[in-house]
């Protein structure tokens, strides 16, 4: 985890980036500074309130998730009965989704570190996902969240596989954009594990051989454990009831359902119509206020019910999550009201929409960018 990307120090105390993004061009330095202060105040307000009810919330979610995992896997052991297969697969799918999204992603962000509970902590948590937690924390928490949507810095823009922005140069390889994405969706966890190895960085000499070996070893161990749990141990035990094959289909289905879902939700975070990407000039000299602006105009929310927010791990509040990645996820809904109001007051876009619309918008972009950019019209 020691890639040697050039790090700018902390954010600039005052001033502005070399170029301010188009969507925020109308704001003066003073306005951006004031916006930064307002968002800091939103954060402070939540910190002051955070306490026993929040702790009870995450423990309740964990309890529900583990009960579902236990019941789902247990039921799959009898999956030669069709009803048991359906119920077991459904429970296990929901358990995996909750584990990855509302629990794993957020615990690994340090959202619950303030409780000082070693059982629910970013430094100890490991998740039911192929990529090792520590590798993911590096590429996600550090690189993606700091460089959000900066072309050339944030490799989450397309995950080294897809062309997701017109500013990424077109190559014939990109003709397969929709195909690659369709293949990626059901095996998303494997794609992320591969991505977290940072193979391009290694080839470019940005990642040391020791780091590469260490990451390979970690992912190897994790792969063996994850693979044998779902595709060997569970079917093996199910064979005792003559349900071995059905149990295997059950775990395969549960993993695929989780992968489809996670892929859909995560792709709605930064790719739908209305989200911006940025050049390095637009982050050079960025202040706290400008950093907030970039997070807000570079992210998109998903509207929906409370259950929907839970199942997306509150990534449906992607904008709020990007402004405050380590605030507990159960607080994003109330934060959203304030962030949205601030955006409208400063005349900044706040992208949101129901899941089907955002998924459609993302796919449209994936198709469109499979082809080279149309030549700009001459003025």
């Amino acid at each position: 985890m020691t890639t040697t990307l050039t790090r700018p120090g902390a954010l600039a105390a005052s001033g502005h980036p070399l170029v301010r993004p188009d969507a925020a061009k109308h704001l003066t330095d003073e306005q951006v500074e004031e916006l930064g202060r307002e968002l800091d105040a939103v954060r402070d307000e939540i910190l002051a309130k955070r306490g026993a009810t929040d702790a009870a919330y995450i423990r309740r979610v964990i309890k529900v998730q583990r009960s579902l995992e236990f019941a789902g896997r247990g039921t799959l052991l009898f999956s030669k009965y069709k009803a048991a297969w359906v119920a077991g697969t459904a429970m296990l799918s929901v358990a995996k989704i909750l584990e990855n999204m509302e629990i794993g992603h957020n615990v690994l962000h340090g959202q619950w570190d303030w409780m000082r509970d070693p059982d629910i902590h970013s430094t100890t948590w490991e998740w039911d996902f192929v990529t090792p937690a520590r590798s993911w924390q590096h590429t996600h928490n550090d690189l993606h969240h700091r460089w959000t949507n900066v072309i050339g810095k944030d490799r989450d823009v397309g995950y080294n596989l897809l062309r997701m922005d017109p500013d990424q140069p077109w190559r014939p390889f990109n003709l397969g954009n929709p195909l690659y994405n369709a293949i990626l969706a059901p095996v998303f966890e494997w794609g992320i594990a591969l991505y977290d190895l940072e193979i391009p960085e290694y080839k470019e000499g940005l990642k040391s051989k020791e780091a590469m070996n260490r990451d390979l070893k970690a992912v190897g161990v994790k792969v063996i454990k994850q693979f044998s749990k779902d595709y060997a141990a569970t079917p093996a035990v199910a064979m005792l009831t003559g349900s071995g094959k059905q149990a295997l289909y059950g775990t395969l289905a549960a993993n695929a359902i989780r992968n489809f879902w996670a892929h859909a939700v995560i792709f709605c975070g930064h790719f739908p119509e209305g989200t911006d990407t940025f050049t390095e000039e637009e982050v050079e000299g960025e202040t706290r206020g400008d950093w907030y602006v970039r997070q807000m105009i570079g992210s998109a929310n998903i509207s929906g019910s409370k259950f929907m927010h839970l199942m997306t791990g509150n990534l449906s509040h992607q904008i709020e999550h990007h402004c405050f990645p380590d605030l507990p996820s159960n607080r994003y809904a109330e934060v959203a009201v304030k962030v949205r109001e601030i955006c409208s007051r400063y005349n900044l876009p706040y992208t949101t929409g129901p899941l089907p619309k955002q998924v459609g918008s993302t796919w449209a972009k994936i198709f469109k960018l499979a082809l080279p950019n149309r030549k700009p019209k001459t003025a």
Binding site: A52, R66, E69, H109, R116, H121, T123, H138, N141, A233
Partner: protein, 370 residues
């Protein structure tokens, strides 16, 4: 916890990355693979503002020696806080702590704890224990300083007729005196225990002069002494023992090297237990001396520079990430001292707490586990 190791290994293959404990915890909160826990079995009120909490520890606890202490964690508004408490019951028995309501954590323990509650634990430790070989003993205690000594007395007095223990126990009033009745009963029942109560409301502060101590225990010089109580009480005791040792050296011993050895044979030793190791916190923005314990480095830090920068400038291999407080890659355990969150001004001083070095600065002396 795992007695059926093989079974547990099979189970682990089915539930990785979780552990069997993670599932057992659904039914019994004492289970955790990372954190020793105990369940409160009984709470006994001792005085108006103190209580004894008996608990049944989970797997990983080991029996305590009389006089040892344990770190106890409780949650206040969702946040885990740790304090050290002496174990007050006899060695070989289920553990219990006796707590005086004197701060946020002890307040919760004394006022709100009930049977069935979960306590977070670290195994017993400490060197304030009985001597290996039988010796006549003098115990000096004040206030809740009686707790570790109570464990020693309960362990030693009923079982060892050859023991010889004198206890001088200072308290403001009889009502505030912990274990007073039990001590009197033990002293009645067992000739090997003598209890001298000292009530400061009636007699003023217990003076640590050779004469005052001799009035309470004539042969005090020949006894191995143990003291536990507030800072001032312990300092006064230490001074008396040092004065006596110096006098003896001057009187009888011509050679300095022999003198050092003579001390230990002539005047009894004094073993003390302090409640707090006092790292005086600076006021807000003062900064302080930062000690990287594993790296064995000390650096003077101002109150506004992140500890991450301080460490890196000193050549320490610091874990780091975003450098703006969002990614939690830079967490390091605080060993002692106090840091200030540069974003909120909030102070953190809980030993063992993980701190974000990229947004924390020294607020007084700081010891880091790195």
């Amino acid at each position: 916890m795992i007695r059926f190791t093989k079974l547990a290994r099979v189970a682990s293959a089915l539930i990785t990355p979780l552990t069997p404990e993670d599932f057992l915890a659904l039914f019994n909160p004492v289970y955790s693979s990372r954190q020793l826990r105990g369940v409160v079995t009984r709470v006994v009120r001792e005085t108006e503002d103190s209580a004894t909490i008996h608990f049944r520890p989970g797997h990983g606890w080991h029996g305590h020696q009389a006089g040892q202490w344990a770190r106890i964690g409780v949650e206040l508004d969702g946040v885990r806080h740790w304090r050290s408490y002496s174990l007050s019951n006899a060695a070989g028995h289920d553990p219990a702590i006796t707590v005086k309501d004197a701060g946020a954590v002890s307040h919760v323990l004394v006022r709100d704890t009930k049977p069935g509650d979960v306590l977070f634990l670290a195994p017993p430790q400490g060197d304030f224990v009985l001597p290996e070989h039988p010796r006549s003993l003098l115990m000096l205690t004040a206030g809740s300083g009686i707790t570790p000594v109570m464990s020693m007395i309960r362990t030693l007095v009923p079982r060892r007729p050859d023991a010889d223990v004198v206890l001088i126990n200072s308290n403001s009033t009889p009502e505030k005196s912990l274990f007073r009745e039990e001590l009197d009963e033990l002293a009645d029942q067992f000739p090997n225990l003598t209890v001298r109560h000292w009530f400061t409301s009636a007699r003023g502060r217990l003076e640590f002069t050779a004469k005052a101590i001799a009035d309470l225990c004539p042969d005090w010089r020949t006894r191995a002494a143990y003291a536990c109580g507030p800072e001032g009480f312990l300092n006064a005791a230490e001074e008396l023992w040092e004065r006596e040792a110096a006098l003896e050296t001057a009187r009888t011993v011509p050679s300095i090297t022999a003198g050092a050895e003579a001390q230990s044979t002539r005047t009894g030793t004094l073993t003390i237990e302090r409640f707090t190791t006092d790292l005086t916190a600076g006021a807000g923005h003062d900064g302080g001396l930062v000690t990287f314990e594993q790296s064995d480095r000390e650096v003077q830090a101002d109150g506004d520079t992140p500890l991450l920068d301080i460490g890196e400038d000193a050549g320490i291999l610091m874990p780091s990430g975003c450098r703006m407080g969002i990614c939690h890659s830079c967490l390091i355990p605080l060993r002692a001292g106090q840091v200030r969150d540069l974003r909120t001004g909030e102070l953190h001083n809980e030993p063992g707490q993980l701190i974000q070095t990229c947004v924390s600065a020294a607020a007084g002396p700081v010891n880091l586990d790195l």
